[in-house]
Structures are given as C-alpha cells and as structure tokens.
C-alpha cells in the first residue's frame, strides 16, 4: 500500500509541482484580469523570473530563497517600466502590446550570451520542494481573500467594470492597474523560478506566444468569477493530458474536444458560483 | 370575426428572462390607423413586450397576431418584412455608418428598390437636417438628430405598425414637441403606432387609446382621454397635476 503510494508519488510528483505552478500563473493572470487588463505578458514575466532565478543559482550560487526573490523582483521591475506607457491601452490592444513585449523578451533570451540562446540553461539543480509551492500558494490565496473584501479589491473590480466611472469615484486607476500588473508579474516570476528548479532546464521557447495563451486559457476556462476558478481551470488543463495518455495519438484532439464541450455547456467556466447556487437551490427544492 | 379587424392582437403573452418572468398574461390590441400608448413605471415590462413583438425575445406563452397572421414564432427579419417595425429604446442608430447608410438600411428588407429610393426623398424632406448631415457618421449627430434618424430609418421600411420605445427620452422640450407632432403626421398617412412613453401625459394626448402596465401585467386599458382623467393614473404616472412642459 505505502509502496504503491511511493511509486505514485515518485511518478507524479513533477505533475503535482506543475499543477501548483500553473495555479500560481493562473492567479497572476487573474490579478490582471480582475482589474480589466487582458495581458499576454505573463509568460514573458514567468520567463524573466525563471532565467533570473536559475542564473542566481548557477552563476551566483545564491540560496534558493534569495534566487526566488530575485526571480520575483526583476519581472516586477520590468513590469513597472513597461506598464507605465502600456496600461493606457485597453482590451485586445493591450493584449497585443503585451504580446509584442513577450516576443521581444523571447528574442532577447535567444540572443543573449548569458541566457544560453536557444540552448537555454541546463543543469539547474533540483531545489523546489512541495512545501515551497504549497506555502506560496497558501500565502497567495490568503492575500486574495483579504484583498477581495477591501477597498483595493473593490477598486480593481470597479476599474474592470467601468474605468471612467472608477476615476470619477476618486480612484487613481493608473496606479491600481500598475499595481495589479506588477503584482501579477511578480507572482509569474516566482512561479517561473520554482519551475526552473524542478525541471533542470529553461529555454526561450517555453515563454512565447503559445504558453501565454495557455495561461490565459486556464484562467478563463476555470471561470473568472473568483480566484478559485482560474486555479481549478489551469490545474485541470495541466492534468488532462496525463489523464488522456491512454488515448495515444488522439489525446490532444480529445483535449480540444473537451475544451469545446466545457465552453459550450459551462460558458462561465468550470467554477461558476452562480451555477452552483442554482443547483443547490434545485437540490433543496 | 372580431380578430380580423385588429391590426395587432396579443393574447396571453408571457416573457421570461431566464427564471424571471417579466411579462405575464398580457392582452393588447391595436386597430388599423390607431395610436396606442403603453405606459408604466420603470421595469414594468414595456420594452420587453415590444422586443417580444419584434421577435427578439421568444415568448414563453401566448400568441401575437399581426393582420391575423401568427408572427410569434417568426424570426425577427421576417417580422420586419411584414411591416412591423420598431424604433428601440436608446435610439440604437449605427454610429459608424453614415446617416444615409442608416436610412438605406431601413429599407433593407424591401424588394422594390425604386420605391425605396422615392421613400428616401420623402424622409429626407420630412427631416431636412438629415439631408444636410447625410454623409456624416451617424455617431456625430446630437441626441435629437439621432432620434429623428431612428424614426426616419423606421419609416424607410414602410411600417404598417410602428413600435416606438420612449422616443422622447433625453430630448430637449422643443424637440419632444417636434417628435410628437411628427408622430401624429405619420399616423395621418396611415401608419398605426404603438407608443411606449414615460412622458405619459404627452403620449396620452396624441393617442387614441392607452394601456397601463404594472409589473408585467396590464392593469388598466381605456381611451386616452379617460386615462388622462383617471385619478389612479394621475397619481401613479402623471404626477401632481401640472404638465411637465407648462411654464405658467
């Protein structure tokens, strides 16, 4: 019995870590979404965090905690710098601008000496442990719970619903959007740092257009009504290919099919509290 | 039979939004050549009723007969082809198209292009300002002009029955007077009108008959002049006696 458990853990621990990291990424994009910002830059921030943390370990020999902190800090700074001009854009135009930023970042990774070009960085030691991921997630969830019932959370939501009206309420929308953007970048950066330290390797192709869309997909698919939805959604998208492994060559096709079906039948995402409430009412009636 | 005389006959209409019932058991008739006013408080279900008549909302019960034909199950574009044309709440002009393009689209479902071209002249004569602004994007028009455009566009479809949802909302007093005058003129040329208005007093002045809608139900129907005298109507919808535009 415990033997089975051991085998299970040995086989699937990376998957569990990956689910945790994806949940973090989902939170990072949820933060920007909850402020009405459609950002495709989170993959790039994750990349900056991953490279920074990996280089801090490999080149500077910093302890893991400090490497992770740097991995959060640098993306945060970069977000601060590019956020100031960019966040005047809205909707798909912001998505495009952040996508453009992401491409620039990817090309820079490809061409810098220190990032190892397309070969990436390898030999990153295994440092991430389960409790790191769990602890960070717990802190984040606590933060999100606190934020939701505060004037800051309300300001985010007000900006999302109607930015002009939010301004008329005395909210400095620019700085709140910047706050969400920078915090999102920091979370994504830390997630990247964690990821780098259990996959031994980072390369530019992990942080391009497709991963950016994947992060967004997980969040929307889960449902953006609360921060739980994105976590659930991205976790499911991380696990699904593993569950479908038995389908062999058709597993990705079925993956796509499942995506379509969920969207059609659960248009508010998987974690739809209104739907739950309605079901509960029906159940008790 | 009596039904044949009605231009529009709504029997037992019910409309839901998801689980919320916005209109129940609504009966309403319009004769050829009439102006009928539909009044009621905010959220009473007036717009909902009009949207159901135009086929944009599917009724959950009841029938809608137009010239004796059941239009309740038709698609919106087919209902327009029957000559049932609506000017929706909030003007709903197409802001990126020009004024003329808006008008042309008003005749979208008509087959005879020559007649439509003639009607365009008639409409532009009625609203000279629209001729002046013809090539401007319609979004640049002022509120009053937009309302004229919306009515003009509806006329381009040669309505037999014109449904108007709060045409006077947000308009300056002078323009409101103008609109009501235009409605009467249009009516004289043979178009019947169903008028939804918050400006109940004005509406009842131009109407032949009126219905009062409360939380999705018709609670009162009578000739317009009787309704104007009805104390309950005065209290609930016309306010403390004074006309909103009288300046004495």
């Amino acid at each position: 019995m415990t033997d089975d458990l051991q085998v299970f853990w040995a086989t699937y621990n990376t998957l569990v870590y990956t689910v945790g990291v994806h949940a973090m990424l989902a939170l990072s994009i949820y933060l920007t979404l909850s402020c009405g910002l459609l950002s495709l830059g989170n993959a790039a921030f994750m990349g900056i965090g991953a490279y920074t943390a990996a280089l801090a370990t490999l080149r500077l020999g910093l302890p893991f905690g400090e490497a992770l902190a740097l991995g959060g800090l640098l993306p945060g700074l970069v977000a601060l710098v590019i956020g100031i001009p960019t966040l005047r854009l809205s909707g798909v135009y912001l998505a495009m601008a952040t996508l453009g930023f992401g491409e620039v970042v990817r090309v820079v990774f490809l061409n810098l000496e220190i990032t190892g070009g397309s070969m990436g960085l390898n030999g990153i030691p295994m440092k991430t442990q389960l409790w790191h991921i769990v602890a960070i997630l717990v802190v984040l969830v606590y933060g999100f719970v606190r934020l939701r019932r505060s004037k800051i959370g309300r300001a985010f939501e007000a900006i999302k619903e109607d930015e002009t009206a939010a301004k008329a309420m005395g909210i400095n929308t620019t700085s709140y959007k910047l706050l969400a953007f920078v915090l999102g970048a920091i979370i994504a950066g830390v997630a990247g740092g964690l990821n780098a330290h259990f996959t031994f390797f980072v390369s530019p192709r992990e942080y391009g257009f497709d991963p950016a869309v994947d992060i967004l997909t997980g969040a929307i698919f889960g449902g953006t009504g609360s921060f739980v939805g994105p976590m659930v959604g991205s976790a499911i998208l991380a696990i699904l290919p593993e569950l479908l492994r038995f389908l062999k060559a058709f597993r990705l096709a079925v993956n796509g099919l499942i995506l379509i079906l969920v969207v059609i039948y659960l248009p508010n995402g998987i974690w739809d509290r209104k739907l739950f409430a309605r079901l509960r009412r029906k159940g008790s009636a | 039979m009596a039904t044949n005389k009605h231009l529009l006959e709504i029997v037992g209409l019910a409309v839901n939004y998801g689980h919320i019932r916005a209109v129940h058991q609504l009966d309403l008739t319009i004769q050829q050549g009439e102006i009928v006013a539909l009044i009621g408080a905010n959220g009473a279900g007036k717009s909902t009723t009009l949207l159901a008549v135009s086929g944009l909302l599917k009724p959950s019960a009841g029938t809608i007969l137009f010239e004796g034909k059941d239009v309740g199950r038709l698609r919106p574009q087919e209902i327009v082809q029957h000559g049932l044309i609506q000017v929706p709440e909030g003007r709903a002009i197409l802001t990126t198209l020009t004024v003329l393009e808006n008008l042309e689209l008003g005749a979208y479902s008509r087959k005879n292009r020559r007649e439509a071209a003639q009607d365009l002249e008639v409409v532009l004569d009625r609203f000279p300002i629209l001729r002046e602004r013809g090539d401007l994007p319609a979004g640049n028009l002022s509120g009053g002009e937009q309302q004229m455009l919306a009515i003009g566009r509806a006329l381009m479809g040669r309505p037999r029955l014109l449904l108007l949802d709060e045409p006077s909302m947000g308009l300056a007093p002078l323009v409101v007077q103008g609109i009501f005058e235009i409605l009467q003129e249009i009516n004289k040329t043979g178009t019947s009108i169903l008028l939804v208005e918050q400006n109940a007093r004005q509406a009842l002045r131009v109407a032949n008959r009126g219905y009062v809608l409360e939380t999705g139900k018709i609670v009162l129907s009578d000739t317009a002049s009787n309704l104007l005298e009805n104390q309950k109507v005065i209290d609930a919808y016309l306010g403390g006696g004074k006309d909103c535009c009288s300046v004495d």
Binding site: R106, V108, I260 | -
Partner: protein
C-alpha cells in the same frame, strides 16, 4: 539590393495580409479572436493538395474548391462552437477559448489523418522559375500572391462599402440587436462571414503551402501571433487595416534583416508594433473611441 528588399517586403507583407484578411473579418463582425484560423488555413492547404494529387485537378481549379471546403469548415466551427455562445452571458473571451479547442481538435485530427510528415504539391503544379525585371528577381507565384491579396482586399472593401449586403455586414458588426430590428438576417450574416473568412484563410493556406512547398498539420501555428499583430495593428476588423498592417509587418521584418540584424528581426518588428500602439491606441484604422460619459 534595396529594390529587391522592397519586393521581398511586399511579397512577405502580402502573405501576412492574405492570412489576416479573413481573421480580421471574423474579429470585426463576430468579435471573436478566432484562434482556429490557423487550423482552417492548414485545412485549405490539405484540401487543395488532395484535389491536386488524388483528383488530378489543375491548381487554379483546386484553389477555389479548397476555399469552398475550408469555408465549409469555418461554417461548421461557427455553428458548432461559436453559435451556442452567442447571446449568452459568458466571459467575452470564452468564444476565443472555444476556438482554441477547435484548433487543437482540427490540427491533431489532421495529424491523425495525414500523418506528422510534411507533404508538398507535386512538381510542376506551378512554375517555379523566377524571372528578372531590372535588378529584381521574382517568381510567378510571388506575383500571384501580391495580386491576389490586393484584389481580395479591394473586393472586400468595395463589397463592404458599396453593396447592400456589405452595409448589412457592417450593421451587424456594430450592433446585432439593432440589425435584427432592421430586418437583417443576422444569423445569416454571421454564417456568411464565418464562411467567407474561412475561405479566405483556406485560400491563403493553399498559396502559402505552394510557395513554401510544405503542408503540415501545424503550418498555421507560426502565423497566428503575426496574424494577431497584423489585425490589431490595422485596427479591429478593418480590411484596409489588415492589408496595411500586413505590409507593415513585412516591411518591418525585411528591413530589420536588411539593415539591422536578422537576430533581432522579430524583436524589432514586434517592438515597432508595440510603439505604434502607444501612439495610436486603437490601431491604424481603429474605430474612434466611444464617446465618453
């Protein structure tokens, strides 16, 4: 060299524009970033390949047929995946997520059917020699791509601007609810646009498949970010914008290779797009921002 590079830019830009035309149409009318456009593009290329190899058709006969086929696929995606979401209160990005699902399904199904290997049109499907005009060398296919994409853009613009149908499409693009009240068959317009956009995408797939000599299940993928860049740079749903945006991206890429460094080509191109958006926040031909308050 500059003349040749300008021609290079023009042809590359036309390729991007061709890809982006249908993409922008769906975006403008259905308000969906259709991430299955790359899959439809691939399907068009395979359809033409089958018609040429299995039915022995001439490529210029196969091209319109392939466009019909990919148009039908687009219609199918619209009816199965997008239609159920219309008029329901869902997150505005949900339709996009659904198209991601459709793209994954279609590309991987294609891989199941046609295999992962690259296929190509048989030799002689189209003349491959280039000819010289002054200092410039160009192939027949390149000329065809430039002409076809310009013609299609003009055609679309004229249709949208001048015809009754075009006005109806623009009306639906702005406000479906109002369009219903004008007697426009709104669902019909949605179907027509989905079909046309997919047909254009499929046509682009055929031409690019021909010119790159490579048809494979994932051939649409690298074009997606560029397509998005082009249509957003051009401005939401603007046909002229797609063309200008495509040409711009082509010029930016070619010129950064020619005069800067090919290493930083994508960074220069996307960086420029980024800067342009900062100056014109709704793209080059974007609609005027809504009236405030």
């Amino acid at each position: 060299m500059i003349a040749q590079q300008l021609i290079n830019a023009l042809t590359l830009g036309s390729v991007y524009a061709l890809f982006a035309l249908g993409f922008t149409l769906v975006f403008g009318v259905l308000e969906v970033i259709n991430l299955a456009h790359g899959a439809v593009f691939m399907a068009g290329a395979y359809a033409a390949l089958l018609l040429v190899t299995k039915a022995n058709l001439n490529i210029w006969v196969a091209l319109p047929l392939a466009m019909l086929a990919s148009g039908a696929l687009g219609l199918l995606i619209d009816q199965i995946v997008l239609k159920p979401l219309r008029g329901r209160r869902a997150h505005h990005l949900m339709p996009m997520i659904a198209t991601i699902g459709a793209a994954t399904l279609i590309t991987n199904a294609a891989q199941g059917i046609f295999g992962a290997e690259t296929s190509r049109f048989p030799l002689g499907t189209i003349p491959e020699e280039s000819f010289q005009i002054g200092t410039i060398r160009i192939t027949e296919l390149q000329i065809a791509i430039v002409i076809i994409s310009f013609l299609l853009m003009l055609l679309l613009m004229v249709i949208l601007k001048k015809t009754r149908l075009g006005k109806a499409v623009r009306a639906v693009a702005e406000n479906p609810q109002t369009s219903y009240l004008l007697g426009i068959n709104v669902e019909g317009v949605f179907r027509l646009v989905s079909f046309t956009a997919a047909a254009l995408g499929g046509g682009a797939g055929v031409l690019i498949g021909l010119s790159f000599n490579a048809i494979f299940p994932f051939m649409g993928q690298p074009l997606m970010p560029k397509g998005i860049a082009v249509i957003i740079l051009g401005g939401m749903g603007d046909v002229r914008g797609a063309m200008v945006g495509g040409l711009f991206l082509g010029v930016a890429e070619v010129m950064s290779v020619a005069y800067l460094s090919s290493d930083y080509r994508d960074a220069v191109a996307f960086g420029l797009l980024f800067l342009i958006l900062l100056v014109r926040p709704s793209g080059l031909f974007g609609r005027v921002l809504e009236r405030k308050a």
